[in-house]
Amino acid sequence: MAFRRILSRALVFVVVLGGLWAVWEGYKWLWERTGWSKPFRVDDLTLPHVHSILLQLGKPTSTGDDLWLYLLHSALFTARAAAVGFLFGAAVGFALGVVLAHFDVLRRGVMPYVVASQTIPILALAPIVVRGLGSVSIGGGPPPDWARVAVIAAYLTFFPVTVNTMRGLLSADPWALELMHSYAARGWTTLWKLRVPSALPYIFTALKIAATASVVGAIIGEQTASISNGLGGAILNFNQYYVLEPTDLWATNLFAAMLGIGFFLVVLVAEKVIVHRAPERLV
Protein backbone atom coordinates (compact mmCIF):
# COMPACT_ATOMS: atom_id res chain seq x y z
CA MET A 1 0.00 0.00 0.00
CA ALA A 2 2.72 2.41 1.00
CA PHE A 3 4.80 1.38 -1.98
CA ARG A 4 1.96 2.26 -4.33
CA ARG A 5 1.80 5.65 -2.69
CA ILE A 6 5.49 6.28 -3.24
CA LEU A 7 5.21 5.07 -6.80
CA SER A 8 2.31 7.38 -7.61
CA ARG A 9 4.12 10.31 -5.97
CA ALA A 10 7.22 9.56 -8.02
CA LEU A 11 5.08 9.36 -11.12
CA VAL A 12 3.53 12.75 -10.40
CA PHE A 13 7.02 14.16 -9.89
CA VAL A 14 8.18 12.91 -13.25
CA VAL A 15 5.01 14.16 -14.93
CA VAL A 16 5.30 17.62 -13.38
CA LEU A 17 8.97 18.00 -14.30
CA GLY A 18 8.27 16.67 -17.76
CA GLY A 19 5.34 19.06 -18.07
CA LEU A 20 7.46 22.03 -17.08
CA TRP A 21 10.15 21.04 -19.54
CA ALA A 22 7.53 20.68 -22.27
CA VAL A 23 6.05 24.10 -21.48
CA TRP A 24 9.51 25.71 -21.53
CA GLU A 25 10.65 24.18 -24.79
CA GLY A 26 7.21 24.56 -26.32
CA TYR A 27 7.08 28.26 -25.47
CA LYS A 28 10.57 28.75 -26.81
CA TRP A 29 9.82 26.92 -30.04
CA LEU A 30 6.56 28.77 -30.62
CA TRP A 31 7.91 32.24 -29.86
CA GLU A 32 11.02 31.72 -31.96
CA ARG A 33 9.01 30.38 -34.82
CA THR A 34 6.58 33.28 -34.88
CA GLY A 35 9.02 35.94 -33.81
CA TRP A 36 6.59 37.43 -31.31
CA SER A 37 8.20 40.08 -29.18
CA LYS A 38 5.61 40.28 -26.42
CA PRO A 39 6.18 39.94 -23.53
CA PHE A 40 9.81 39.64 -24.60
CA ARG A 41 11.80 38.40 -27.59
CA VAL A 42 12.75 34.77 -27.30
CA ASP A 43 16.11 33.50 -28.46
CA ASP A 44 19.01 31.54 -27.05
CA LEU A 45 20.05 34.59 -25.07
CA THR A 46 16.81 35.30 -23.24
CA LEU A 47 15.57 31.72 -22.97
CA PRO A 48 18.23 29.09 -23.53
CA HIS A 49 17.35 25.46 -24.01
CA VAL A 50 16.98 23.42 -20.86
CA HIS A 51 19.59 20.98 -22.04
CA SER A 52 22.02 23.80 -22.78
CA ILE A 53 21.79 24.89 -19.17
CA LEU A 54 22.26 21.36 -17.87
CA LEU A 55 25.19 20.71 -20.20
CA GLN A 56 26.84 23.93 -19.14
CA LEU A 57 27.13 22.53 -15.65
CA GLY A 58 29.80 20.18 -16.86
CA LYS A 59 31.92 22.88 -18.48
CA PRO A 60 34.87 24.43 -16.69
CA THR A 61 34.82 28.00 -15.37
CA SER A 62 37.61 30.51 -15.09
CA THR A 63 38.37 29.21 -11.61
CA GLY A 64 39.35 25.86 -13.04
CA ASP A 65 36.46 23.99 -11.45
CA ASP A 66 33.59 22.73 -13.50
CA LEU A 67 30.53 24.93 -13.26
CA TRP A 68 28.58 22.58 -11.04
CA LEU A 69 31.43 22.36 -8.56
CA TYR A 70 31.92 26.11 -8.52
CA LEU A 71 28.20 26.59 -7.93
CA LEU A 72 28.22 23.94 -5.24
CA HIS A 73 30.96 25.80 -3.35
CA SER A 74 29.09 29.04 -3.76
CA ALA A 75 25.89 27.44 -2.58
CA LEU A 76 27.63 26.06 0.49
CA PHE A 77 29.05 29.46 1.32
CA THR A 78 25.64 31.04 1.08
CA ALA A 79 24.10 28.13 2.94
CA ARG A 80 26.46 28.52 5.86
CA ALA A 81 25.77 32.22 6.17
CA ALA A 82 22.04 31.72 5.83
CA ALA A 83 21.94 28.81 8.29
CA VAL A 84 23.94 30.55 10.99
CA GLY A 85 21.84 33.64 10.66
CA PHE A 86 18.65 31.62 10.62
CA LEU A 87 19.50 29.67 13.76
CA PHE A 88 20.69 32.72 15.62
CA GLY A 89 17.67 34.78 14.59
CA ALA A 90 15.32 31.94 15.49
CA ALA A 91 16.86 31.49 18.93
CA VAL A 92 16.76 35.20 19.76
CA GLY A 93 13.29 35.51 18.26
CA PHE A 94 12.03 32.61 20.34
CA ALA A 95 13.53 34.04 23.52
CA LEU A 96 12.05 37.46 22.88
CA GLY A 97 8.69 35.86 22.05
CA VAL A 98 8.71 34.09 25.41
CA VAL A 99 9.55 37.32 27.21
CA LEU A 100 6.86 39.28 25.40
CA ALA A 101 4.29 36.59 26.08
CA HIS A 102 5.05 36.88 29.77
CA PHE A 103 5.32 40.59 30.29
CA ASP A 104 2.17 42.26 29.22
CA VAL A 105 3.40 45.84 29.38
CA LEU A 106 6.48 45.05 27.38
CA ARG A 107 4.36 43.33 24.81
CA ARG A 108 2.02 46.24 24.36
CA GLY A 109 4.99 48.51 24.01
CA VAL A 110 6.98 46.49 21.51
CA MET A 111 4.35 44.57 19.60
CA PRO A 112 3.21 47.26 17.15
CA TYR A 113 6.78 47.69 15.94
CA VAL A 114 7.48 44.03 15.59
CA VAL A 115 4.23 43.64 13.65
CA ALA A 116 5.02 46.73 11.57
CA SER A 117 8.29 45.08 10.65
CA GLN A 118 6.21 42.48 8.81
CA THR A 119 4.82 45.15 6.52
CA ILE A 120 8.00 46.91 5.51
CA PRO A 121 10.64 45.68 3.08
CA ILE A 122 13.36 44.89 5.63
CA LEU A 123 15.31 43.16 2.94
CA ALA A 124 15.95 46.57 1.45
CA LEU A 125 18.31 47.22 4.35
CA ALA A 126 20.61 44.45 3.20
CA PRO A 127 23.15 46.51 1.25
CA ILE A 128 23.41 49.14 3.95
CA VAL A 129 23.92 46.60 6.69
CA VAL A 130 26.44 44.47 4.86
CA ARG A 131 28.46 47.40 3.56
CA GLY A 132 28.29 49.11 6.88
CA LEU A 133 29.53 46.06 8.75
CA GLY A 134 32.38 45.90 6.30
CA SER A 135 33.69 49.14 7.73
CA VAL A 136 33.24 48.20 11.36
CA SER A 137 36.10 47.00 13.45
CA ILE A 138 35.39 44.04 15.71
CA GLY A 139 38.36 42.40 17.38
CA GLY A 140 40.87 44.14 15.18
CA GLY A 141 39.21 44.01 11.79
CA PRO A 142 35.93 43.87 9.96
CA PRO A 143 33.87 40.73 10.53
CA PRO A 144 34.30 37.95 7.94
CA ASP A 145 32.15 38.13 4.82
CA TRP A 146 29.91 35.23 5.72
CA ALA A 147 29.18 36.74 9.12
CA ARG A 148 28.08 40.04 7.63
CA VAL A 149 25.70 38.16 5.39
CA ALA A 150 24.50 36.00 8.26
CA VAL A 151 23.34 39.16 10.04
CA ILE A 152 20.75 39.72 7.34
CA ALA A 153 19.48 36.17 7.56
CA ALA A 154 19.30 36.67 11.31
CA TYR A 155 17.10 39.75 11.29
CA LEU A 156 14.89 38.40 8.51
CA THR A 157 14.28 35.36 10.70
CA PHE A 158 14.04 37.21 13.98
CA PHE A 159 10.89 39.26 13.37
CA PRO A 160 8.48 36.58 12.13
CA VAL A 161 9.70 34.10 14.75
CA THR A 162 9.14 36.63 17.54
CA VAL A 163 5.61 37.45 16.41
CA ASN A 164 4.62 33.87 15.92
CA THR A 165 6.24 32.58 19.11
CA MET A 166 4.36 35.17 21.08
CA ARG A 167 1.07 34.46 19.33
CA GLY A 168 1.57 30.75 19.73
CA LEU A 169 2.41 30.91 23.43
CA LEU A 170 -0.66 32.98 24.09
CA SER A 171 -2.87 30.67 22.07
CA ALA A 172 -2.86 27.92 24.69
CA ASP A 173 -6.33 26.65 25.37
CA PRO A 174 -7.62 28.28 28.58
CA TRP A 175 -9.00 25.00 29.80
CA ALA A 176 -5.67 23.32 29.33
CA LEU A 177 -4.16 26.12 31.38
CA GLU A 178 -6.64 25.49 34.15
CA LEU A 179 -5.73 21.84 34.07
CA MET A 180 -2.10 22.73 34.52
CA HIS A 181 -3.06 24.96 37.41
CA SER A 182 -4.93 22.11 39.02
CA TYR A 183 -1.74 20.07 38.88
CA ALA A 184 -0.10 22.87 40.88
CA ALA A 185 2.29 23.33 37.99
CA ARG A 186 4.63 26.25 38.30
CA GLY A 187 5.43 28.79 35.59
CA TRP A 188 8.30 26.96 33.90
CA THR A 189 6.46 23.65 33.82
CA THR A 190 3.40 25.23 32.25
CA LEU A 191 5.65 26.94 29.78
CA TRP A 192 7.45 23.86 28.59
CA LYS A 193 4.68 21.29 28.87
CA LEU A 194 1.79 23.29 27.53
CA ARG A 195 2.48 26.67 26.02
CA VAL A 196 5.49 25.79 23.94
CA PRO A 197 3.90 22.68 22.40
CA SER A 198 0.80 24.78 21.62
CA ALA A 199 3.06 27.37 20.03
CA LEU A 200 5.03 24.96 17.88
CA PRO A 201 2.72 25.02 14.83
CA TYR A 202 2.86 28.81 14.79
CA ILE A 203 6.62 28.85 15.27
CA PHE A 204 7.14 26.42 12.44
CA THR A 205 5.00 28.52 10.15
CA ALA A 206 7.37 31.39 10.82
CA LEU A 207 10.41 29.15 10.41
CA LYS A 208 9.26 27.96 7.02
CA ILE A 209 8.92 31.51 5.81
CA ALA A 210 12.19 32.49 7.44
CA ALA A 211 14.05 29.59 5.83
CA THR A 212 13.42 30.98 2.38
CA ALA A 213 13.91 34.55 3.53
CA SER A 214 17.31 33.69 4.98
CA VAL A 215 18.52 32.29 1.68
CA VAL A 216 17.17 35.30 -0.20
CA GLY A 217 18.70 37.67 2.31
CA ALA A 218 22.06 35.97 2.07
CA ILE A 219 22.09 36.18 -1.71
CA ILE A 220 21.06 39.82 -1.76
CA GLY A 221 23.57 40.66 0.93
CA GLU A 222 26.43 39.07 -0.95
CA GLN A 223 25.41 40.62 -4.21
CA THR A 224 25.04 44.17 -3.01
CA ALA A 225 28.24 44.09 -1.01
CA SER A 226 30.15 42.56 -3.89
CA ILE A 227 31.10 39.50 -1.88
CA SER A 228 32.33 37.07 -4.45
CA ASN A 229 32.15 33.76 -2.63
CA GLY A 230 28.51 32.91 -2.49
CA LEU A 231 25.67 32.52 -4.94
CA GLY A 232 25.12 36.28 -4.85
CA GLY A 233 28.67 36.73 -6.02
CA ALA A 234 28.15 34.14 -8.72
CA ILE A 235 25.09 36.01 -9.93
CA LEU A 236 27.05 39.26 -10.05
CA ASN A 237 29.83 37.55 -11.93
CA PHE A 238 27.73 35.76 -14.51
CA ASN A 239 25.45 38.73 -14.96
CA GLN A 240 28.38 40.72 -16.28
CA TYR A 241 29.06 38.11 -18.90
CA TYR A 242 25.44 37.28 -19.63
CA VAL A 243 25.58 38.18 -23.31
CA LEU A 244 28.57 35.91 -23.75
CA GLU A 245 27.17 32.91 -21.91
CA PRO A 246 23.61 33.19 -20.58
CA THR A 247 23.43 29.59 -19.41
CA ASP A 248 25.86 30.30 -16.55
CA LEU A 249 23.37 32.65 -14.90
CA TRP A 250 20.49 30.28 -15.44
CA ALA A 251 22.48 27.46 -13.90
CA THR A 252 23.19 29.68 -10.90
CA ASN A 253 19.49 30.28 -10.50
CA LEU A 254 18.94 26.55 -10.60
CA PHE A 255 21.31 26.11 -7.68
CA ALA A 256 19.75 29.01 -5.84
CA ALA A 257 16.33 27.41 -6.29
CA MET A 258 17.62 24.11 -4.98
CA LEU A 259 19.16 25.83 -2.00
CA GLY A 260 15.93 27.61 -1.17
CA ILE A 261 13.86 24.48 -1.53
CA GLY A 262 16.46 22.52 0.42
CA PHE A 263 16.30 24.87 3.40
CA PHE A 264 12.54 24.76 3.30
CA LEU A 265 12.51 20.96 3.21
CA VAL A 266 14.83 20.74 6.20
CA VAL A 267 12.44 22.85 8.25
CA LEU A 268 9.49 20.86 6.90
CA VAL A 269 11.07 17.56 7.95
CA ALA A 270 11.95 19.00 11.35
CA GLU A 271 8.35 20.04 11.75
CA LYS A 272 7.04 16.59 10.86
CA VAL A 273 9.35 15.05 13.43
CA ILE A 274 8.78 17.51 16.25
CA VAL A 275 5.16 18.47 15.84
CA HIS A 276 2.57 15.74 15.80
CA ARG A 277 -0.44 17.46 14.40
CA ALA A 278 -3.70 16.19 12.95
CA PRO A 279 -3.34 16.23 9.14
CA GLU A 280 -4.93 19.01 7.15
CA ARG A 281 -8.42 18.10 6.07
CA LEU A 282 -9.13 19.28 2.56
CA VAL A 283 -12.62 18.67 1.14
Binding site: R108, Y113, I120, P121, V129, G132, V216, I219, I261, V283
Partner: protein, 272 residues
Amino acid sequence: MSGPGSTPSPSRSLGERIREWLPAVVVFGLGLVAWQWLLPDVLGVEDFLLPRFSDVLGALVDEHHLLLRGAWITLKEAVGGFVLGSGAAIVVALVLARWRPFGDALMPYMIAANAIPIIAFAPITNAWFGILSPWSKVTIAAVLCFFPVLVNTLRGLTSVDPESIELMRSYAASERDVFRRVRIPSSLPYVFSALKVASVLAMIGAVVGDYFGGSLEALGIVVLSAVNLSRYATSWAAILVASIMGIAFYATIAGIERYTLSWHPSVARRAS
Protein backbone atom coordinates in the same frame (compact mmCIF):
# COMPACT_ATOMS: atom_id res chain seq x y z
CA MET B 1 -18.90 34.66 23.15
CA SER B 2 -21.91 36.91 22.53
CA GLY B 3 -25.12 35.92 24.20
CA PRO B 4 -28.38 35.37 22.34
CA GLY B 5 -29.59 38.29 20.33
CA SER B 6 -26.78 40.55 21.51
CA THR B 7 -24.98 43.21 19.52
CA PRO B 8 -21.16 43.38 19.45
CA SER B 9 -19.55 44.30 22.81
CA PRO B 10 -19.71 47.96 23.85
CA SER B 11 -16.84 50.31 22.94
CA ARG B 12 -14.00 50.44 25.37
CA SER B 13 -13.58 53.59 27.36
CA LEU B 14 -11.06 56.21 26.37
CA GLY B 15 -9.02 55.41 29.45
CA GLU B 16 -8.75 51.79 28.43
CA ARG B 17 -7.62 52.71 24.97
CA ILE B 18 -4.94 55.05 26.26
CA ARG B 19 -3.66 52.40 28.62
CA GLU B 20 -3.44 49.98 25.75
CA TRP B 21 -1.43 52.26 23.51
CA LEU B 22 0.66 54.08 26.10
CA PRO B 23 3.48 51.53 26.28
CA ALA B 24 3.86 51.60 22.49
CA VAL B 25 4.03 55.39 22.50
CA VAL B 26 6.60 55.31 25.27
CA VAL B 27 8.69 52.83 23.36
CA PHE B 28 8.44 55.03 20.29
CA GLY B 29 9.66 57.98 22.26
CA LEU B 30 12.49 55.98 23.80
CA GLY B 31 13.38 54.70 20.35
CA LEU B 32 13.65 58.20 18.98
CA VAL B 33 15.79 59.28 21.88
CA ALA B 34 18.06 56.31 21.40
CA TRP B 35 18.31 56.96 17.69
CA GLN B 36 19.09 60.60 18.12
CA TRP B 37 21.49 60.54 21.08
CA LEU B 38 22.12 57.18 22.69
CA LEU B 39 23.42 55.31 19.70
CA PRO B 40 25.62 57.94 18.07
CA ASP B 41 26.89 59.80 21.12
CA VAL B 42 26.94 57.28 23.90
CA LEU B 43 27.54 54.01 22.05
CA GLY B 44 29.53 55.58 19.25
CA VAL B 45 27.56 53.98 16.47
CA GLU B 46 29.13 55.14 13.25
CA ASP B 47 27.45 57.06 10.54
CA PHE B 48 27.59 54.23 8.06
CA LEU B 49 25.62 51.91 10.27
CA LEU B 50 22.90 54.25 11.41
CA PRO B 51 23.03 58.03 11.00
CA ARG B 52 21.42 60.27 13.55
CA PHE B 53 17.68 60.63 13.27
CA SER B 54 17.91 64.36 12.58
CA ASP B 55 20.39 63.65 9.77
CA VAL B 56 17.99 61.19 8.19
CA LEU B 57 15.16 63.68 8.50
CA GLY B 58 17.37 66.30 6.98
CA ALA B 59 18.17 64.10 4.03
CA LEU B 60 14.46 63.37 3.68
CA VAL B 61 13.71 67.04 3.36
CA ASP B 62 16.70 67.97 1.21
CA GLU B 63 16.25 65.19 -1.26
CA HIS B 64 12.48 65.02 -1.23
CA HIS B 65 12.16 65.47 -4.97
CA LEU B 66 14.44 62.57 -5.64
CA LEU B 67 12.76 60.42 -3.03
CA LEU B 68 9.22 61.17 -4.10
CA ARG B 69 10.04 60.47 -7.72
CA GLY B 70 11.67 57.20 -6.74
CA ALA B 71 8.74 56.31 -4.52
CA TRP B 72 6.27 56.88 -7.31
CA ILE B 73 8.17 54.72 -9.79
CA THR B 74 8.62 51.94 -7.27
CA LEU B 75 5.00 52.11 -6.14
CA LYS B 76 3.80 51.66 -9.70
CA GLU B 77 6.05 48.65 -10.14
CA ALA B 78 4.90 47.13 -6.86
CA VAL B 79 1.19 47.65 -7.43
CA GLY B 80 1.48 46.47 -11.02
CA GLY B 81 3.23 43.30 -9.97
CA PHE B 82 0.78 42.76 -7.11
CA VAL B 83 -2.28 43.02 -9.34
CA LEU B 84 -0.77 40.82 -12.03
CA GLY B 85 0.56 38.15 -9.72
CA SER B 86 -2.41 37.99 -7.36
CA GLY B 87 -4.93 38.11 -10.18
CA ALA B 88 -3.27 35.26 -12.03
CA ALA B 89 -2.96 33.28 -8.80
CA ILE B 90 -6.66 33.60 -7.97
CA VAL B 91 -7.67 32.50 -11.46
CA VAL B 92 -5.37 29.47 -11.33
CA ALA B 93 -6.61 28.64 -7.83
CA LEU B 94 -10.23 28.65 -9.02
CA VAL B 95 -9.30 26.30 -11.85
CA LEU B 96 -7.32 23.96 -9.61
CA ALA B 97 -10.09 23.88 -7.00
CA ARG B 98 -12.56 22.91 -9.70
CA TRP B 99 -10.38 20.09 -11.03
CA ARG B 100 -9.37 18.66 -7.67
CA PRO B 101 -7.07 15.86 -8.76
CA PHE B 102 -4.81 18.43 -10.44
CA GLY B 103 -4.97 20.77 -7.51
CA ASP B 104 -4.17 18.10 -4.95
CA ALA B 105 -1.29 16.71 -7.00
CA LEU B 106 0.25 20.11 -7.67
CA MET B 107 -0.08 21.55 -4.16
CA PRO B 108 3.28 20.30 -2.86
CA TYR B 109 5.01 21.70 -5.94
CA MET B 110 3.48 25.10 -5.47
CA ILE B 111 4.56 25.11 -1.87
CA ALA B 112 8.07 24.18 -2.98
CA ALA B 113 8.07 26.84 -5.71
CA ASN B 114 7.28 29.34 -3.00
CA ALA B 115 10.65 28.55 -1.44
CA ILE B 116 12.64 29.51 -4.52
CA PRO B 117 14.56 32.80 -4.28
CA ILE B 118 12.69 34.49 -7.09
CA ILE B 119 14.65 37.67 -6.62
CA ALA B 120 17.69 35.92 -7.97
CA PHE B 121 15.94 36.00 -11.33
CA ALA B 122 16.10 39.79 -11.47
CA PRO B 123 19.15 39.88 -13.75
CA ILE B 124 17.35 37.55 -16.14
CA THR B 125 14.22 39.69 -16.26
CA ASN B 126 16.54 42.61 -16.89
CA ALA B 127 17.83 40.70 -19.89
CA TRP B 128 14.28 40.12 -21.05
CA PHE B 129 12.87 43.60 -20.75
CA GLY B 130 15.90 45.78 -20.53
CA ILE B 131 17.50 47.05 -17.37
CA LEU B 132 15.67 50.34 -17.40
CA SER B 133 12.24 48.91 -18.06
CA PRO B 134 9.77 48.74 -15.18
CA TRP B 135 8.49 45.45 -16.56
CA SER B 136 11.47 43.54 -15.31
CA LYS B 137 10.66 44.58 -11.73
CA VAL B 138 6.92 44.12 -12.25
CA THR B 139 7.58 40.54 -13.31
CA ILE B 140 9.64 39.83 -10.21
CA ALA B 141 6.99 41.36 -7.97
CA ALA B 142 4.27 39.41 -9.78
CA VAL B 143 6.01 36.06 -9.44
CA LEU B 144 6.74 36.79 -5.77
CA CYS B 145 3.03 37.34 -5.18
CA PHE B 146 1.85 34.47 -7.31
CA PHE B 147 2.68 31.39 -5.26
CA PRO B 148 1.64 32.55 -1.77
CA VAL B 149 -1.68 33.84 -3.10
CA LEU B 150 -2.22 30.66 -5.11
CA VAL B 151 -1.49 28.30 -2.22
CA ASN B 152 -3.62 30.20 0.27
CA THR B 153 -6.54 30.79 -2.05
CA LEU B 154 -6.55 27.13 -2.98
CA ARG B 155 -6.48 26.20 0.70
CA GLY B 156 -9.40 28.51 1.34
CA LEU B 157 -11.43 27.10 -1.53
CA THR B 158 -10.86 23.53 -0.39
CA SER B 159 -11.13 23.90 3.38
CA VAL B 160 -14.86 23.64 3.42
CA ASP B 161 -16.65 21.77 6.17
CA PRO B 162 -17.83 18.42 4.72
CA GLU B 163 -21.30 18.88 6.18
CA SER B 164 -21.59 22.10 4.22
CA ILE B 165 -21.03 20.13 1.03
CA GLU B 166 -23.57 17.51 2.16
CA LEU B 167 -26.06 20.29 2.78
CA MET B 168 -25.58 21.67 -0.71
CA ARG B 169 -25.94 18.20 -2.13
CA SER B 170 -29.27 17.86 -0.35
CA TYR B 171 -30.35 20.92 -2.34
CA ALA B 172 -29.32 19.16 -5.58
CA ALA B 173 -26.64 21.82 -6.07
CA SER B 174 -24.32 21.72 -9.05
CA GLU B 175 -20.55 22.16 -8.67
CA ARG B 176 -20.96 25.72 -9.89
CA ASP B 177 -23.52 26.41 -7.18
CA VAL B 178 -21.24 25.00 -4.54
CA PHE B 179 -18.44 27.22 -5.78
CA ARG B 180 -20.48 30.37 -5.99
CA ARG B 181 -22.40 30.00 -2.78
CA VAL B 182 -19.99 28.23 -0.47
CA ARG B 183 -16.38 27.87 -1.56
CA ILE B 184 -15.77 31.38 -2.80
CA PRO B 185 -17.31 33.27 0.16
CA SER B 186 -15.66 30.99 2.68
CA SER B 187 -12.27 31.41 0.99
CA LEU B 188 -12.29 35.20 1.31
CA PRO B 189 -10.57 35.36 4.72
CA TYR B 190 -7.75 33.19 3.35
CA VAL B 191 -7.50 35.27 0.19
CA PHE B 192 -7.19 38.52 2.10
CA SER B 193 -4.61 37.16 4.44
CA ALA B 194 -2.59 36.08 1.41
CA LEU B 195 -3.07 39.47 -0.27
CA LYS B 196 -1.66 41.21 2.78
CA VAL B 197 1.45 39.08 2.58
CA ALA B 198 1.60 39.65 -1.17
CA SER B 199 1.54 43.42 -0.74
CA VAL B 200 4.72 43.25 1.30
CA LEU B 201 6.34 40.86 -1.17
CA ALA B 202 5.45 43.11 -4.09
CA MET B 203 7.15 46.05 -2.38
CA ILE B 204 10.22 43.96 -1.71
CA GLY B 205 10.25 42.78 -5.31
CA ALA B 206 10.07 46.32 -6.61
CA VAL B 207 12.68 47.84 -4.30
CA VAL B 208 15.13 44.98 -4.04
CA GLY B 209 14.69 44.08 -7.71
CA ASP B 210 16.35 47.39 -8.41
CA TYR B 211 19.42 46.26 -6.51
CA PHE B 212 20.27 44.24 -9.55
CA GLY B 213 20.05 47.29 -11.75
CA GLY B 214 17.19 49.50 -12.72
CA SER B 215 16.01 52.90 -13.78
CA LEU B 216 18.24 55.57 -12.24
CA GLU B 217 15.40 57.18 -10.43
CA ALA B 218 13.87 54.13 -8.80
CA LEU B 219 14.00 53.97 -5.05
CA GLY B 220 16.23 50.93 -4.93
CA ILE B 221 18.82 52.60 -7.10
CA VAL B 222 18.64 55.68 -4.90
CA VAL B 223 19.53 53.50 -1.92
CA LEU B 224 22.41 51.80 -3.71
CA SER B 225 23.92 54.91 -5.20
CA ALA B 226 23.61 56.74 -1.89
CA VAL B 227 25.47 53.92 -0.17
CA ASN B 228 28.12 53.98 -2.87
CA LEU B 229 28.62 57.69 -2.31
CA SER B 230 28.68 57.15 1.43
CA ARG B 231 25.63 59.32 1.83
CA TYR B 232 24.10 57.07 4.42
CA ALA B 233 21.52 59.53 5.63
CA THR B 234 20.01 59.59 2.16
CA SER B 235 19.99 55.84 1.87
CA TRP B 236 18.21 55.52 5.20
CA ALA B 237 15.77 58.22 4.18
CA ALA B 238 14.97 56.19 1.07
CA ILE B 239 14.43 53.08 3.19
CA LEU B 240 12.15 55.10 5.41
CA VAL B 241 10.11 56.17 2.39
CA ALA B 242 9.92 52.56 1.21
CA SER B 243 8.78 51.47 4.66
CA ILE B 244 6.05 54.07 4.81
CA MET B 245 4.85 52.97 1.40
CA GLY B 246 4.92 49.37 2.52
CA ILE B 247 2.82 50.13 5.58
CA ALA B 248 0.40 52.20 3.52
CA PHE B 249 -0.02 49.48 0.91
CA TYR B 250 -0.59 46.86 3.61
CA ALA B 251 -3.03 49.11 5.45
CA THR B 252 -5.00 49.68 2.26
CA ILE B 253 -5.44 45.97 1.76
CA ALA B 254 -6.34 45.56 5.42
CA GLY B 255 -8.93 48.32 5.07
CA ILE B 256 -10.51 46.69 2.05
CA GLU B 257 -10.52 43.43 4.00
CA ARG B 258 -12.33 44.99 6.91
CA TYR B 259 -14.97 46.33 4.55
CA THR B 260 -15.43 43.15 2.54
CA LEU B 261 -15.32 40.82 5.52
CA SER B 262 -17.58 42.95 7.70
CA TRP B 263 -19.61 39.84 8.34
CA HIS B 264 -16.71 37.83 9.71
CA PRO B 265 -16.90 37.42 13.50
CA SER B 266 -13.28 38.39 14.05
CA VAL B 267 -13.70 41.63 12.09
CA ALA B 268 -17.11 42.59 13.42
CA ARG B 269 -16.15 42.07 17.05
CA ARG B 270 -13.04 44.17 16.66
CA ALA B 271 -15.02 46.99 15.14
CA SER B 272 -16.17 48.22 18.53
